[in-house]
Subunit: 189 residues, 2 copies
DNA sequence: TGATTTACTTCAATTTTTGAAGTAAAATTC
DNA sequence: GAATTTTACTTCAAAAATTGAAGTAAATCA
């Protein structure tokens, strides 16, 4: 791993710090979490959870920046994620819920904002009048396209082939874990 | 969507997982996100980000459940994460910030709650009187220990050796990505 | 000595999340 | 076929979390 080669005496977090927070100078003197060289570092679920949150935050920051660059200021990263989750097909609110991120009242809240901003259309289904059918408006579609382009560009300029493979693998592993967590929550820990 | 016909109660993600986990009995005839056989599934950063958030949420839920089981009701998962981030040594607020998750005012907010609940002690450093030294109280230590035990137990009962290796790898890959994201945020996308 | 920087804290405004309650349509049961 | 239950959401209000601007006091620099 490159940063470990570059900064062999540092823990992961410190390497991160050094590169991402340029103006802070002090580095923690010890690194409790690392095993022998060449061994995979021992990673607790808490470490992992922390990383998940931090990564999410960073990503949100990136999306927010891209949004301002695109001149979008009526919705934020959270709403964008909903938008992208909808995709090119028509979905019901229930389907969005099943995709996993949201609680009912929460997605209602987001959908309202997206409707207000004219990013989505909601039509009550003919078959089942309880169910709302949701799809992107042209504006929503355009925004998604722009964001996907930006992501592609970004990916191309910053990630190598191996990175992408690693990420795909990470995705799978994380996904497994998420299911385990979900089941644990369901059927008692 | 085919997998919804097959697994009506599952979302996309779950169906995807099922395939990757090796239960190949019900493989969907069509797989939108997958390239050639033997190739890694294509995963966009948005998919990944969604997974990150969802996983975080799940994990928080689990921690919350564990907390209620332990009879702790004055702090939540977010505060617990700070507690665990502190660890067994004495740290300054700055060090906690550097560990990456938090913005200054935010951690102050959490630390206040942790102080109120008597989970941490704050002493102003003798050397540098601006700097607060923070460490766990006995109560805080105990809670961390309990949580770590629960996590260990959980890990043992639900994860195999391979899972753990996969997760360690995932951690590394994600960490790399996070660095990339952080740098992108810093030096313009 | 005065100016700047560091290391935080505080506060107020905003956003997000949660949970409880509500509504209306569909499905089920009696 | 009327009553009940379930489903598919929405709404609202309260709580929690986040942000950003300002403030304080100590350390460091010029």
């Amino acid at each position: 791993m490159t940063q470990e080669l570059l900064y062999p005496s540092m823990g992961l977090e410190d390497a991160l710090l050094l590169r991402s927070v340029g103006d802070r100078r002090h580095v923690a003197p010890e690194q409790p979490r690392r095993d022998q060289i060449g061994d995979a570092p021992q990673v607790s679920c808490f470490d992992l959870a922390r990383l998940l949150e931090r990564s999410s935050r960073r990503f949100s920051g990136l999306v927010a920046a891209e949004l301002t660059r695109l001149g979008v200021d009526d919705i934020g990263p959270a709403q964008v994620m909903v938008l992208l989750a909808i995709g090119d097909t028509e979905v019901s609110v229930g389907e969005l819920l099943d995709r996993g991120n949201y609680v009912g009242s929460n997605i209602s809240y987001y959908l309202k904002q997206l409707t207000d901003g004219d990013y989505i259309d909601r039509v009550t289904s003919q078959r089942d009048k309880r169910s709302a059918r949701i799809r992107l408006t042209e504006r929503g579609r355009q925004l998604c396209a722009d964001l996907r382009d930006a992501a592609k560009l970004f990916e191309r300029s910053f990630c190598g082939e191996q990175d992408l493979r690693d990420l795909a693998a990470a995705f799978q592993a994380l996904h497994r874990l998420e299911l385990v967590w979900a089941n644990a929550a369901r059927y008692g820990v």
